[in-house]
């Protein structure tokens, strides 16, 4: 049994201009102890997908799915109370901005022991002892004196360590890290990633690493899910995906990495992510795709099994017949000839 099973998840927000579909038909499975990287540009729905799994979609957002289970429990029919017993205990989340994600009016110690007392039923003393242990585990020096510190007295990196300590406090089966290093400077980023990976291995936790940084994914994830405009574009084993991306979007993302540029200017992807009003009829990436055809602009591709994973594209890059098919479907892409 997979730890997380999501089938055909969609999250919608009613807006004045109509219904905004932030997540559109996302399906995924996560095994225990697996590390999944979720990448995509801002607004691609990667965070919202995981917030839906956590049950944290803010009002008036609506979550729909054919299946949404965690550890065998159906999250679609679960009561609020049961859900709260799960969140923070078996599935925990850390966020992008450590400085604003901790409550400025309470001490580190209070915020840390709160989870322990709620989920583990510890008394004040036991929770305090455990909190000190946890701070030690996440590499905070002199943890005992830090318990009485307020978040504004610690640096961003230290606060993120506190967030991690809070998240792993009840030995969760799944940890969702939503861009955990984005707000931190580069040297601290590496430390936090190391810490997360060490904790993941020690505890054999499932780990979902949401990021827009391909480099972070390459260092950590076993499997990668590339999202675009609320949909999964490609989902494959990390090594395969980096060696031979199958979706033009993935390829373009990888080409834009500074490490992969061959001198001169960095590669970019022209255009922007479609918004509420300009959502294409066909493939969502087609307006920006170098290989778009009449067919891909009119018919939206389904997510289908491909090369050991899944892909949502009419013309996967590894398909030997793709050139012929593209020619047959009247290419309209900007660089289709090359």
């Amino acid at each position: 049994m997979a730890l997380v099973e999501i089938e055909n998840l969609s999250v919608e927000f009613p807006t004045q201009g109509g219904i905004m579909r932030a997540v559109d038909g996302v399906s995924l499975k996560l095994e225990e102890g697996e590390v999944l990287g979720v990448v995509g540009e801002s607004g691609s729905g990667k965070s919202v997908t995981m917030l839906a799994l956590m049950g944290l979609i803010p009002f008036p957002g609506r979550v729909k799915a054919d299946k949404l289970t965690f550890n065998g429990r159906d999250l679609l029919t679960i009561s609020d109370k049961e859900r709260r017993q799960l969140t923070g205990k078996d599935v925990a989340m850390i966020f992008q901005e450590p400085m604003t994600s901790l409550n400025p009016s309470f001490t580190i110690g209070f915020q840390l022991t709160e989870t322990l007392r709620l989920h583990e039923g510890m008394d004040r003393k036991a929770a305090r002892r455990r909190a000190i242990e946890l701070l030690e585990q996440v590499g905070i020096p002199s943890p005992e004196s830090r318990l009485s510190a307020f978040p504004h007295q610690l640096s961003g990196g230290m606060n993120q360590r506190v967030m991690i300590a809070m998240a792993i406090a009840c030995n969760p089966k799944l940890l969702i890290a939503d861009e955990p290093t984005t707000a931190l400077d580069v040297t601290i980023q590496a430390q936090i990633l190391d810490l997360l990976m060490t904790l993941q291995k020690e505890r054999n936790m499932g780990l979902v690493m949401i990021t827009h940084n391909m480099g972070v994914v390459a260092d950590t994830a076993q499997r990668v899910m590339v999202m675009y405009a609320g949909q999964i574009m490609e989902e494959r084993a990390a090594t395969d995906l980096f060696a031979s991306p199958q979706h033009p979007y993935t390829a373009a993302l990888l080409a834009a990495l500074p490490e992969r540029s061959e001198g001169g200017r960095l590669a970019t992807i022209p255009g922007v992510v479609p918004g509420l009003y300009d959502r294409p009829k066909g493939c969502l990436f087609s307006p920006r795709c170098a290989y778009a055809t009449e067919h891909s602009r009119n018919v939206r591709p389904d997510l289908r099994p491909w090369a050991g994973g899944h892909i949502r594209c009419h013309y996967p890059l590894g398909d030997p017949n793709r050139n012929a098919e593209i020619q047959h479907d009247h290419p309209v892409g900007t660089e289709a000839a090359s």
């Binding site: 969140t87 923070g88 205990k89 966020f95 604003t100 409550n103 009016s105 009485s148």
Partner: protein, 346 residues
């Protein structure tokens, strides 16, 4: 990075800064009270003489006795030097020391002001919180509409309407005063609610309560409106913060998130507003006490204006000013207590 030993040092400096600000404010109040009352036509002697008038020679003699014949700046200098020695003078009407009269009347004002601010807090905080949680609901619109009306209402008009409705029409509450004339309560604390409980007449307590109801509502209306609106907007802002999402991700109950994690932060601006309302409260007390013949310092000051009782007006305004400044200082200290970021910086 190292956590400094908090509290003492910055807190002490904070208090000293605030206290030193009191001195110019204090001088300002003496200036205003002294010169403004002298801009009003007539003098205390004429008022004392009343309609019968007074012999001009006798008038001149009395003016000399009270020192009103001196140049005005000299008068101010004499007044100020006396104030600095702790002498606020005597009432020209009753010949009682100003400080004695103030001390006798002030508990009545405090009692009313405390009841009013409690009334405003007990209703205003929950109303603001619920309005924020259920924003754009009928409750929210209702609370915001009513509070806007309450905020805009002239106090004297509101008081008269309530008297007409509850005292005259329904005969539910007394029209004026602090307690029925039937009872004589020995002033121990000066707070009637406490003194009546200490006395052997339990009925007197309920009489005092009934007398307090309308003045409390009238005086508490504006602070209530302000607190409700402020709580709502502060709460709305806080509920959208990242740390509330973190609290939800911890699996905390909705009640705990709102009542602890959100409220603690939302209270910071609300406490500031409450502090500012204290000043408004005393201004309002002057009107409210006059409407309800409430024997407090507000009514005393109004009477002093009509009688041109210079020492009472000057001394009363000064003492009230000191009280407001002290309360504001206390509020600022409370602000430091609930907001750790203030406590540890600066």
């Amino acid at each position: 990075m190292a956590a400094p030993p908090f509290y003492v040092q910055p807190m002490l400096r904070f208090i000293l800064t605030r206290v030193s600000l009191i001195i110019p404010t204090f001088l300002g109040i003496t200036l205003l009270a002294f010169f403004l009352i002298r801009l009003v036509p007539g003098d205390p002697i004429e008022t004392l003489a009343g309609e019968r008038g007074i012999d001009p020679a006798r008038h001149e003699q009395l003016r000399k006795e009270y020192g009103f014949d001196q140049p005005i700046l000299v008068q101010y200098g004499i007044y100020l030097s006396r104030v600095l020695q702790g002498d606020l003078g005597k009432s020209m009407i009753t010949q009682e020391p100003v400080i004695t009269e103030f001390a006798a009347l002030f508990p009545a004002t405090i009692e009313l002001a405390l009841c009013a601010i409690l009334f405003a807090l007990i209703l205003g905080l929950p109303a603001g919180i619920i309005a924020a949680i259920k924003r754009n609901s009928i409750f929210d619109h209702g609370v915001m509409g009513i509070s806007l009306a309450g905020y805009s209402m002239p106090i004297f008009w509101w008081g008269l309407i309530l008297i007409l409705l509850f005292s005259v029409q329904f005969d539910l509450t007394p029209v004026s005063g602090r307690i029925d004339v039937l009872y004589y309560i020995e002033p121990i604390t000066g707070f009637l609610l406490i003194d009546t409980l200490l006395s052997d007449e339990p009925e007197a307590f309920w009489s005092a309560v009934r007398h307090l109801i309308l003045p409390t509502i009238v005086l508490g209306t504006v602070p209530l409106a302000v607190i409700a609106r402020m709580t709502r907007s502060a709460m709305l802002e806080v509920l959208g913060e990242d740390y509330i999402r973190t609290a939800k991700a911890k699996g905390l109950s909705r009640f705990r998130i709102v009542a602890l994690h959100a409220l603690r932060n939302a209270l910071i601006p609300v406490v500031t507003v409450i502090g500012l309302q204290i000043g408004v409260l005393f201004t309002g007390a002057i009107l409210t006490e006059t409407i309800f013949s409430w024997p407090g310092v507000g009514k005393w000051l109004i009477d002093a204006i009509f009688r041109r009782d210079y020492p009472v007006l000057q001394g009363g305004a000064l003492l009230l000013g000191v009280v407001v400044m002290s309360v504001n200082l206390l509020v600022d200290l409370a602000y430091g207590l609930i907001n750790p970021r203030i406590r540890h910086t600066r």
